[in-house]
């Protein structure tokens, strides 16, 4: 038989014993055969140490896991898969250290309906993070820092905090489905109103704030009992589809006498269609939050396995506006995992009018900073790896409602750090823009980019480096 591998060959010496055969490679006595690395690190592609730990945690808890921060899915593509191709022979660069590059960003002026569009000094602002998720001191510090940088912040779900309104020269007020504390007074104090239909960290799911963080002040603002987990509604209470949303937007315009722009924020899922619908419903600004977006608390599976990356969402969103003939009318803001000015510049080149930062602003403020190390260790983590926003035991006082921990936020110093970070990343954007020959950051374009991977090219339509054509299926 062809596959009969039994051998009739006989050695010219005695057959070795089984013990000699097993141990002649020097392996540890008693170990069964196999690759040494398989014993030390695990070799299964499915049952990795992380997967095993997750099953064990679920088996112990009997419920899904919850945590804060953002997406830990290692497969998410990043903006690092794109590179800029600055001006060389076909284009002229601007003098990076001498010539100026305009950064002024106006949002919500395109429809012509709004008396006071949002005018920002830089194309970056701080994302919506609620009072409740963040401490009042953190909110105030971010507000002051953003104001000094000539840009704005956003309230988040928990209502309008006096500290933040006072600190923020420009403040967008969120109307989430839970409508915590939403009334006419706050609506009229806002510089913009944001209707939230979803967020990148957990699209298709409402907000979450665990009971540990629902202290008296938070409870009062949200009209809910203190100490109780707040799992907010996901659907708006008074509109369902796009046609109803159009009426809702008109209501908000009437309530503010057409003074401020209306933003519609959504998680990035089907941007080609969702953005078109929001624009047609009457939004002045569409805010698109990629799957890398942060949150104070979420079921972990939603953080890691829902939504599409920011990288892949921007071009279809811009295309949607083009398709509707609304590209000049409706502003597009993107967010989700934006770390530096390089990421911001890439977003602008892909089609965004402005970029929102959340986690980056928190980190600038002091999140994960190497202080109070013993408190990080008590949480089972260390500076640089902490994602325990959901517990309310933030060692640096940012994502907590514990008064003692909150004292660790130095509002003045924190504001200055946020300001300096915003300024620094804005400078980074202009440096790239000038290298690409642009006198305005808003002139950055897709042609200024090349993709370093087939994936990034396929996601964005950006030409492959060296090939000068986009990857197509």
């Amino acid at each position: 038989m062809a596959d009969d591998l039994n051998s009739t060959y006989e050695y010219p010496f005695p057959m070795p014993s089984e013990e000699e055969v097993a141990y002649s490679d020097g392996a540890i006595k008693g170990r069964t055969p196999g690759s040494p690395s398989a014993y030390d690190k695990g070799g299964s592609t499915r049952w990795t140490p992380d997967a095993i730990a997750e099953v064990q945690a679920l088996a112990q808890l009997g419920r899904y896991q919850v945590r804060g921060y953002n997406c830990f899915n290692q497969r998410m593509p990043t903006f690092d898969d794109l590179t800029f191709v600055p001006a060389t022979m076909t284009r002229l660069p601007l003098e990076g250290y001498r010539e100026s590059c305009d950064m002024t960003t106006v949002l919500g002026a395109g429809t012509g309906l709004v008396e006071k569009p949002l005018e920002l000094k830089i194309p970056i602002y701080v994302a919506s993070m609620s009072f409740g998720a963040l401490s009042a001191s953190a909110k105030a510090a971010i507000g002051y820092g953003a104001s000094k940088a000539g840009t704005m912040t956003c309230t988040g779900e928990g209502g309008m905090l006096e500290d933040e309104r006072e600190a923020s020269q420009k403040l967008v007020y969120q109307l989430t489905p839970a409508r915590y504390g939403v009334d006419l007074e706050h609506i009229r104090k806002a510089d913009g109103l944001e209707l939230v239909v979803g967020q990148g960290a957990k699209p298709g799911t409402g907000g979450l704030l665990l009971g540990m963080k629902v202290v008296e002040r938070v409870s009062k603002m949200r009209s809910l009992p203190a100490g109780v987990d707040q799992r907010s509604t996901v659907r708006h209470p008074d509109f369902l589809g796009a046609d109803d949303m159009a009426v809702k937007i008109e209501e908000l315009r009437i309530a503010t006498n057409y003074k401020v722009p209306i933003l519609v924020k959504m998680g990035a899922t089907r941007p080609r269609f969702d953005v078109a619908i929001a624009a047609k419903a009457g939004a002045d600004i569409v805010v698109l939050d990629g799957a890398e977006g942060g949150t104070g608390a979420s079921p972990e599976l939603l953080l890691n396995h829902t939504g599409i990356p920011c990288l892949s969402a921007i071009r279809p969103a811009r295309q949607a506006l083009e398709d509707c003939g609304m590209s000049d009318k409706v502003s597009l803001v993107v967010s989700g995992g934006i770390r530096t000015g390089v990421d911001v510049a890439k977003c602008l080149a892909l089609g965004a009018d402005a970029v929102m930062i959340g986690n980056a602003a928190m980190i600038a403020l002091g999140c994960n900073s190497p202080r109070y190390e013993e408190d990080y260790h008590a949480l089972g983590t260390s500076p640089g790896a902490c994602h325990h926003c959901h517990t309310g035991m933030c060692p640096v006082g940012i994502t907590t409602q514990n008064k003692e921990l909150e004292k660790r936020v130095n509002i003045a110093a924190g504001a200055e750090r946020v300001y300096r970070f915003l300024t620094a990343i804005a400078m980074e954007v202009t440096m790239l823009a000038k290298a690409c020959g642009k006198s305005s950051v808003h002139n950055l374009e897709v042609e200024d980019l090349r993709a370093l991977s087939f994936e990034a090219s396929a996601f964005t339509g950006v030409k492959m480096a060296g090939l000068d054509r986009a990857f197509t299926w």
Partner: protein, 230 residues
């Protein structure tokens, strides 16, 4: 109080609302004609005054009201009195979906039936419905009372927080995490006093008070340490 008549018809809704505000702030009592069930009539009304819509209205009538007394002669559409913080809204006919959504205070009185999700996410105030409640009345309502003299449709009191749904008639089914409790005599007196104030007949009603069972309020513990294994 002198009266001002404002006609709606097909005119610009923004201008109509500006006229309402100007008239109310000038101390007029406003009568609105030719309403055509238009949406967004009477949005963001001031802290005092009276406005009477002589017809039916569309979505969000009296939305964000801060204290004006609103009367709708016929029917009202979705989101009547949404996020209102004061004043009263009286609907002589039927009221559509999400009546009093996210309201923060004040009183809504519907003489006919209410559509689904009456009082959804309401934070305070009272909604009195002389007819029946549609499905999911009081869905995720934080605080306040919904009082129905008729019955209630499916999933009544679904996922309530601290709000209460009072039903005098039949209840088709309770929503998740809802339970019926025996009201205290004092509470019934309060309800009766409110109904009397609205001119409703004083008589015995077999009240069922629906509140949260609070099983959905916590994952399992208030103790932060239980979350640290992640």
């Amino acid at each position: 109080m002198s009266e001002k008549v404002i006609q709606v018809g097909h005119r610009d809704i923004r201008i109509i609302n500006q006229e309402f505000l100007a008239a109310l702030e000038a101390g007029y009592s406003v009568v609105v004609t030719d309403t055509l069930s238009r949406h967004n009539l009477g949005v963001g009304l001031p802290q005092s005054g009276k406005i009477h819509f002589d017809g039916s209205v569309g979505y969000y009538c009296g939305g964000l009201n801060t204290g004006t007394d609103v009367r709708v002669e016929n029917n009202a559409g979705w989101g009547t009195g949404e996020a209102m913080s004061g004043g009263t809204i009286t609907v002589n006919g039927y009221s559509g979906m999400s009546t009093g959504a996210a309201m923060l205070g004040g009183l809504i009185h519907v003489k006919g039936d209410c559509g689904p999700r009456c009082g959804v996410a309401m934070k305070a105030g009272d909604i009195v419905v002389e007819g029946n409640l549609g499905y999911q009345a009081g869905f995720m309502a934080h605080r306040g009372r919904i009082i129905a003299l008729g019955g209630a449709g499916p999933s009544c009191g679904d996922a309530l927080w601290e709000a209460e749904v009072w039903v005098a008639g039949d209840i088709e089914s309770l929503g998740v995490d809802a339970k019926i409790v025996e009201p205290e005599a004092e509470e019934v007196e309060e309800i009766n006093a409110l109904l009397k104030q609205l001119g409703l007949e004083e008589r015995f009603r077999d009240w069922r008070k629906i509140v949260s069972e609070q099983k959905l309020w916590y994952f399992e513990s208030r103790d932060a340490n239980s979350w640290l294994m992640i």
